[in-house]
Symmetry: C2
Subunit: 486 residues, 2 copies
């Protein structure tokens, strides 16, 4: 029997390393930072409420980075602080919880449980493997292709990479006697693991619903009056995304080649696994139909007058009515509730900071520094700084919370086409996680499997980051010109 797909990491694990200072020291730093800002008088042109909310926001983001408590708890403490200090009314403080983009992602979390429960997820992976798996490079592409198919409806990258792709990769590597500890890692496992990780980041960038914090960028853009729909995000990402998915596995294959190159055995193993799974079960058919319906509604929703969140609600409704998912499954989906809380809290703060005028004030100040520089070099510079600053972040959410709104405001302030700037920074929020072993949820899971050495992880990550930047800014830029985004 195939190993049961399991999620290998704790859901709300605290991501600090063992050498981190004690919990309450980290809490003290975050709170102290916020208190210091609070006590400084608001600069002229900034309302006291805006300044106070900024202080709370900085403390919250610092708390997310230092992680004295899990991210959800830190976010909720931030909400509590914002209303307890009288900075926001209780209505404003809770406003994020009915945000429709957040519910789009929360619904997708619930729906994605169906891929694991019905085993449709692993089946898709083995199907691609049976078709493409005659060579190790083909195995790499089959994992990336599976991830791409699953991405639009699985916003948890850790679930996608960790609970669906990772077990398949691991069992395949073991079938070829490639294990982390006995000197056989480079035979095959190391390449597949590294490749699956990089592929996962590219697919995360390709759909608004493919990574939990993508909606945070959408909402921050909306606060600046920039509309990014599900379709616009996916259309603009399609060409650079597909090219990246073709190029990156090849680059890794050349730079980090597996010892075993030909794997005729793999297609047989994959077919055996498919035989074990048997014919498509009722639940899998329904999942397929639901995902097809979702994609149609997400892509053509504008013409059909169906909001993307309405579509996701309908999708979950189908799964509940057919009992592919039970209500108990929904209530057990702790990742969804966790994301719901932190995402709502951050969206609420970002939205109120914007309403209170702080983002505009900041952008006015900083944009002045770019006088005489054209918007295009400025945007490239801003996006590269944004990208490579991810070396300092342990989660996409922290990175986006801390930098996205400010960088976007400045980019627009210097004259960049707004949608272009919003999308580039949005895509880079995902792609920039390629570089480290701690930068995003799946990184510790896949790095932690032990196949790839730390040095190789960083070196290859840096190279892939350049490849992605070139593809997305170069070819992507061309594509975005063609479809009229700038």
């Amino acid at each position: 029997m195939q190993r049961q797909a399991r999620i290998p990491t704790p859901i709300v694990g605290e991501t600090t390393t063992q050498s981190a200072p004690p919990r309450y020291v980290r809490l003290g730093i975050a709170v102290g930072l916020g208190a210091a800002i609070w006590l400084v008088p608001a600069p002229s042109g900034v309302m006291p409420e805006a300044w106070h909310l900024f202080a709370i926001f900085v403390a919250t983001v610092a708390g997310i980075m230092l992680a004295p408590f899990p991210m959800g708890a830190v976010a909720l403490l931030g909400v509590a602080a914002s209303t307890l200090t009288g900075t926001l009314s209780i209505g404003d403080a809770l406003s994020g919880f009915s945000n429709n983009v957040i519910w789009l992602v929360v619904m997708a979390f619930f729906i994605s449980r169906g891929f694991i429960k019905t085993r449709l997820g692993p089946r898709i992976a083995y199907l691609f493997m049976a078709i493409l798996g005659r060579r190790t490079l083909g195995l790499g592409y089959s994992m990336v292709a599976s991830d791409l198919v699953l991405a639009p409806a699985i916003p948890s990258i850790t679930a996608r990479a960790g609970a669906i792709i990772f077990p398949v990769v691991q069992s395949m590597a073991e079938a070829f006697d490639s294990r982390p500890s006995d000197g056989t890692a480079r035979r095959m496992g190391a390449y597949l693991i590294k490749n699956s990780f990089q592929g996962n980041l590219i697919t995360s960038a390709m759909f608004m619903t493919a990574m939990a914090a993508n909606p945070l960028t959408v909402e921050m853009a909306a606060n600046l009056g920039i509309e990014v729909t599900w379709t616009r995000w996916a259309t603009a990402a399609a060409v650079p995304g597909l090219v990246s998915l073709l190029v990156v596995p090849l680059v890794l294959y050349k730079l980090y080649p597996p010892d075993i190159k030909k794997t005729p055995e793999a297609t047989r193993i994959a077919r055996n696994r498919l035989a074990e799974l048997g014919r498509l079960q009722r639940g899998e058919w329904i999942m397929l139909g639901t995902i097809a319906m979702l994609l149609v509604l997400w892509i053509f929703g504008k013409w059909l007058h169906v909001h993307s969140t309405t579509a996701a609600l309908a999708g979950l409704g189908v799964l509940l009515l057919t009992r592919v998912l039970t209500w108990e499954d929904v209530l057990n989906e702790k990742r969804a509730w966790n994301t719901f809380i932190w995402l709502s809290a951050l969206v609420m703060m970002a939205s109120n900071l914007s309403t209170l005028g702080l983002i505009a004030w900041f952008s006015d100040r900083v944009s002045g520094l770019f006088t005489g520089v054209g918007w295009l070099p400025a945007l490239v510079m801003l996006s590269l700084i944004y990208f490579y600053s991810h070396y300092f972040f342990a989660s996409n959410t922290a990175h986006i919370s801390a930098m996205y709104a400010a960088f976007l405001a400045v980019a627009v302030g210097v004259g960049s086409p707004p949608v272009l700037a919003a999308l580039v920074l949005g895509y880079f929020s995902n792609l920039s996680s390629s570089m480290t072993h701690y930068g995003t949820g799946p990184a510790p899971v896949l790095f932690g499997a032990g196949y790839v050495s730390l040095g190789n992880w960083w070196k290859l990550g840096a190279i892939v980051s350049v490849v992605n930047v070139v593809i997305w800014l170069g070819l992507g830029g061309l594509w975005w010109k063609i479809i009229g985004i700038w």
Copy 2:
């Protein structure tokens, strides 16, 4: 060792009996009912959107009563239907999720976990027992007093009665050799169980945060422009509530006497249990402090300018910061997430029905029937019909959803003082569960323990219902006159 407090029923159990028709027949009935209303042309004076939402609302409430799926799933399907049919925008459909009264209750759910986790809940019960437990009547009062102390911060009546009080009652009954099956039930257990059940319903009526669906009545009243705050609810309930808590145990003691009347042994047992629990632990001290802070903020919030939901957020914040509760505890609190979904869905529908004018239209029609009847007899009549119709309901939520808004609107329409009508119907939404073994969450748990026969459960329930009605309408009416509610 004391038995570990456990919640004895599934959290989202489907409450239908075994003889119910199959799931999809029940679903068909609910959907068919909604479809029939949808297809009937809207009466003159009613907007089509209002009529369509009414159809979806009726289907949802029918779904909650017939329970083809758990309540949360039915409610979410109702939300999906409301926006998929274009009856409501996605923004309106999701609006309930940021309602501050709902978050008050959700926060209280999280906080209440602390009573069970720290064992403060059972400690309180044994403490009262050590003081009052020399006689069986005193044991009855000690259970009721414990429930009263816990009620303001535990909105799950099933958790309160089932997970805290019930294990204490059961272990006490067993200590006196009173068991359900061997003819010894009436010795002591039967009285204590029945008494705890009735006491639980009275405490549920006494605080807005003492029963999960109470906020639904508050929001339905708010839709009619009637403001019911936490303090107003509690103040008005205090006198009739305390009198009920004194009288009902005595009535049951006379009508349904336990064989064992004197129980000097019980205080010794309680003291032993307290000794086993040891000194107050750090977590219990923090829980006590948090609850004290909450009560102060809830009672004096108006003067301190702290919203009741802000207070609850702060309370949860304290428990998280001190790690009395972990974030994992919060995410695991499935009852809270379940309540969040169904409560938000129902509040959203009720609020939109009101905004769209349906409640006013209905009230205008029906109020006409009361022409020539004074508001006082009309209100008494309406509240009695409301009360005794609970024989037909298997949950407080279903009862409130189906009848509260309409009955309140009619009561106000015939001239009743609005706050008076809102409170009476709100209190009766709790007290009316006294009569059957299926009318509210704790009923099947406590009846299911097997101490009380079905005949006695119903007979005593009917008698207690009359006692409560007399106390709350009679003495309550007097109290409400004194404090100026009418």
